[in-house]
């Protein structure tokens, strides 16, 4: 229906149509260039597979964690176009923990830029009105202050379809052009209870780079989340914000009593491992068996990473 109405409107404003098309072609052109320059993932060899930090402010915990992995310049190269993808799903203030902590996002953007990144874009396909989410989460202000660019994600034309050959159920998806056109991207979810998926962490955060989230819910949510993570262009880092955690009535939460403040942060290139670690952390707040967060197991079955944390080289830091 949208499309039909769109075309009707365009018929009135004939001129816009042609020029819009030109824009579309230009986008395709830039895609071919940037795709060939994607080589960040897999080339880094960090000291630890996973870093877990507790007891500090969000930006301080991140500074400690990234230092353990050798600093941001291990992951971000000079002149690269970087995307930082937080969870900005809800029209909530930072204290209600519906979204990734803005201080953490600001610190990541800053470090990317000082590592020589050419630009750092930040976006999310929000659930609530995107302008309200960007503003009230505090992320828009924090990112702009840190030198990053907030890009919109509320319109289908910002997304391009790609195929997911290794997926089980969701064989294709429309992905935001910022992710497709960047050199590397960083996944920065917030750890929360989730009514449907039981937990939302790094893997579930990938729903925010996709246009049609209803498809996930309608076609086995837990499998589609894992399928989405088979995307070729993996995040160079998954950084889980567990500074404040929505323990009940997630992912949105209905009041401040749904939120606890355990002050944690987990970081890894292995998306399954980092989610396993965060799920175990959540299990201390409220019982949450790992097999209930079925997308993590589904991810392991697709060889996206491991749930066996004992097999990994884990660095634990308490501040």
């Amino acid at each position: 229906m949208d499309r039909r109405e769109f075309l009707k409107a365009i018929a009135i404003t004939g001129a816009a149509f042609t020029i819009k098309n030109v824009g579309g072609n230009m986008d395709l052109f830039s895609q071919t260039i940037s795709k060939s320059s994607t080589d960040a993932i897999g080339t880094t060899s960090a000291k630890y597979d996973l870093v877990a930090v507790m007891g500090g402010e969000p930006e301080v915990m991140f500074q400690k964690a990234i230092a353990e992995l050798g600093g941001m310049s291990v992951f971000v190269k000079k002149g690269q176009k970087i995307v930082v993808k937080p969870n900005i799903g809800w029209d909530k203030v930072p204290e209600l923990a519906g979204n990734t902590n803005p201080k953490l996002i600001a610190e990541i953007v800053k470090q990317c830029l000082s590592a020589g990144a050419k630009e750092v874009k930040v976006f999310d396909n929000t659930c609530d009105d995107w302008k309200k989410c960007y503003t009230n989460s505090g992320i828009e202000t924090a990112v702009k202050k840190a030198g990053g660019i907030m890009v919109p994600a509320h319109e289908e034309s910002y997304y391009r379809e790609i195929s997911l050959p290794n997926a089980k159920k969701m064989k294709k998806a429309k992905i935001h052009e910022a992710i497709l056109d960047c050199d590397a991207w960083i996944n920065v979810p917030v750890l929360k209870n989730h009514g449907g998926a039981n937990l939302t962490i790094s893997m579930k955060n990938l729903m925010g780079i996709v246009w049609d989230r209803r498809y996930f819910h309608n076609n086995d949510l837990q499998q589609c989340i894992a399928d989405m993570c088979t995307l070729d262009k993996k995040a160079i880092l998954n950084i889980v914000d567990a500074y404040r955690v929505v323990k009940t009535n997630g992912p949105r939460g209905k009041s401040e009593t749904d939120v606890v403040n355990p002050k944690g942060l987990f970081m890894s290139q292995d998306i399954v491992a980092v989610d396993t670690a965060a799920a175990n952390f959540f299990n201390q707040i409220r019982e949450m068996p790992l097999d209930h967060v079925a997308h993590i197991g589904n991810g392991e079955a697709l060889n996206l990473g491991t749930t066996k944390l004992e097999s990994l080289n884990v660095k634990r830091i308490k501040l």
Binding site: D2, E5, F6, K8, A9, I12, T13, A15, A16, I19, K20, V22, G23, M26, A52, M54, D91, C127, D129, K131, K132, I149, P152, H154, E155, S157, Y158, H194, G195, G196, A197, N198, R214, F216, H217, N218, N219, D220, L221, Q222, T248, N249, P251, R252, K254, S255, E256, T257, V260, P262, G264, A277, N280, F281, F282, Q284, I285, P289, H292, R316
Partner: protein
């Protein structure tokens, strides 16, 4: 000079009120919506006596400057008329007799229908609402298309000042109405100046008759006038009778065009006629006065009649309360339309709204849409809540703040949190957790009060359970429910909006986490 002031003020008012409707990016603070509240019909419907008093006082003091400056449809006609002068160089008007009976009949019909069949006539004839509809339904899509064009260009150069906005026509009926109104009034004003205002517009009629007794008005000094009729040829209201050197003040909108063209300096805008003596001797004038008195009398009788009918209409209207009993069916058809939070009841809303579409235009989530047949014929084009493109933001009260008519009463965020516009209806047989045995929870995820909550089901799955008492009817669940062709969850309207029960907060958790847990 007077004309210059009029034109400058008119352009300021006109541009701002137009931009309020177009401005999807909220560049203009929402306080500017006061420009809609100072319009005559909205002020009358919302019973804003102060604003109404000021408009009437302004008219009594200065004449119909409301029609020349504040009314956007009036200024729109002046603009269309200005273009006609640029295109047709030798454009001339001539004096025409006024159509008093037609004017009074239309005004009477509007007032009577206001009490008998809601705002239907007024909806179409109120100049402000008609203008709002034109801008929202016809020009906003064009404005957004222009923005998207700029966005494409600028973003290609790496400048992210603009963002794309979906272009859509919210209602085909309102779109067609908007185009017809635009073309009709545009055509009339292009060729026949202010004919609309002086024949059809109910506000024009009321203020027109008031204009007759205004203190400051345009007057012709008959001693200086040589009856050259230059002024009449320039008068877009056709209200100057050059043969008798008279102005029909019920039609004069104080555009001041005549003052500048008069070579004898016989026309001025002043307190009293400089040739009072001459006027008194003028018999046709007295005859005309007689006519006016009868007209005024008719007018007052009409209003009186309308007044008598008020209590009757209120007594005739009954509230309809509907209970949902459709949980076993797979398809769900809404029993009643959902009105925006703050509108109190369908009845109140239908009685007050004139479909200016300001709330529709401002709704950030695009929940409000012009109705087609949801309210029946008398509520055609009035806004209705639809959850196919969005849901009502829990903290947002914008529609209640901008509504100039008092159709949506102003509510605070706290009041909104407890205003139940409808109640959730869950159809288990359609739910993907039930039919496919896979996780979902999209509805509960969007529910601000957890009136839809996920409870343990089987194999670690969770399934929705509902609590209608705490539901506010925001439509988040219905909007996001992925199941097709029939959604598994809906919001059914409350014909009369009620208070939802406040949510129960979770117990505060003070458990100290001092380990990683792995």
């Amino acid at each position: 000079m007077l004309k210059k002031i009029r034109v400058i003020l008119a352009i300021i008012f006109f541009s701002l009120i137009t931009f309020i409707f177009l401005d999807f990016a909220d560049l203009l603070p929402k306080e500017f919506s006061v420009l809609a509240k100072i319009q005559f019909v909205p002020a009358a419907l919302s019973l804003s006596w102060i604003i109404l008093g000021i408009i009437l006082l302004l008219t009594i003091l200065f004449g119909r400057i409301y029609c020349s400056i504040i009314c956007p449809l009036g200024v729109f006609q002046d603009i269309s008329n200005w273009f006609s002068k640029k295109i047709i160089k030798k454009k001339k008007y001539n004096y025409r007799k006024q159509k008093t009976i037609l004017r009074l009949v239309i005004l009477g019909l509007v007032i009577i229908s206001l009490f008998f069949i809601d705002t239907l006539f007024l909806e179409f004839l109120d100049p402000y609402s008609a203008y709002g509809r034109i801008i929202y339904n016809v020009f906003k899509p064009i404005y957004v298309a222009g923005n998207n064009l700029l966005e494409t260009i600028f973003t290609n150069f790496g400048i992210y000042t603009f963002y794309k906005e979906p272009i859509f026509i919210a209602s085909i009926f309102a779109f067609i109405t908007g185009i017809i109104t635009f073309l009709t009034i545009g055509f009339l004003s292009f060729f026949y100046g202010r004919t609309w205002c002086n024949t059809i517009c109910p506000v024009g009629t009321i203020l027109g008759f008031l204009n007759k007794i205004s203190i400051l008005k345009i007057r012709i000094n008959e001693e200086k006038c040589n009856k050259c009729s230059l002024c009449a040829k320039k008068c877009k209201a056709f209200c100057i009778n050059p043969k008798e050197s008279k102005i029909d003040h019920s039609r004069c909108v104080n555009c001041f065009n005549c003052i500048n063209v008069c070579k004898q300096n016989a026309i001025s805008y002043n307190f009293k006629n400089t040739s009072k003596k001459l006027m008194e001797e003028n018999t046709p004038q007295n005859v005309e006065n007689e006519n006016i008195n009868t007209n005024l009398r008719n007018f007052l009788v009409t209003i009186g009649l309308a007044g008598i009918s008020i209590p009757k209409t209120f007594a005739n209207k009954k509230l309809v309360n509907v209970v949902n009993q459709i949980d076993n069916k797979k398809e769900y058809n809404l029993l009643q339309p959902i009105t925006p939070p703050g509108s109190r009841s369908i009845e109140h809303f239908n009685k007050k709204c004139t479909s200016c579409h300001l709330c529709v235009s401002k709704c950030p989530q695009k929940v409000l849409k012009p109705a087609f047949k949801e309210y029946g014929i008398e509520g055609i084009m009035q806004p209705v809540m639809k959850f196919d493109k969005g849901f009502c933001n829990f903290d947002c009260t914008l529609c209640s703040e901008v509504c100039p008519n008092g159709a949506i009463k102003k509510i605070t965020k706290e009041e909104k949190h407890l205003t139940q516009v409808g109640k959730v209806v869950f159809i288990l047989e359609n739910c993907v957790v039930y039919t496919n045995g896979t996780s979902c929870g999209a509805c509960s995820e969007h529910c601000p009060t957890q009136a839809v909550k996920m409870k343990p089901y089987k194999d670690g799955l969770t399934i929705p359970t509902i609590n209608k008492d705490i539901c506010v009817g925001c439509g988040g669940c219905e909007y996001i429910c992925p199941v097709r062709p029939f959604r598994a969850i809906h919001v059914e309207a409350n014909a009369v909006q009620v208070q939802a029960k406040p949510i129960e907060k979770e117990k505060q958790d003070n458990k100290i986490i001092d380990d990683f847990g792995f």
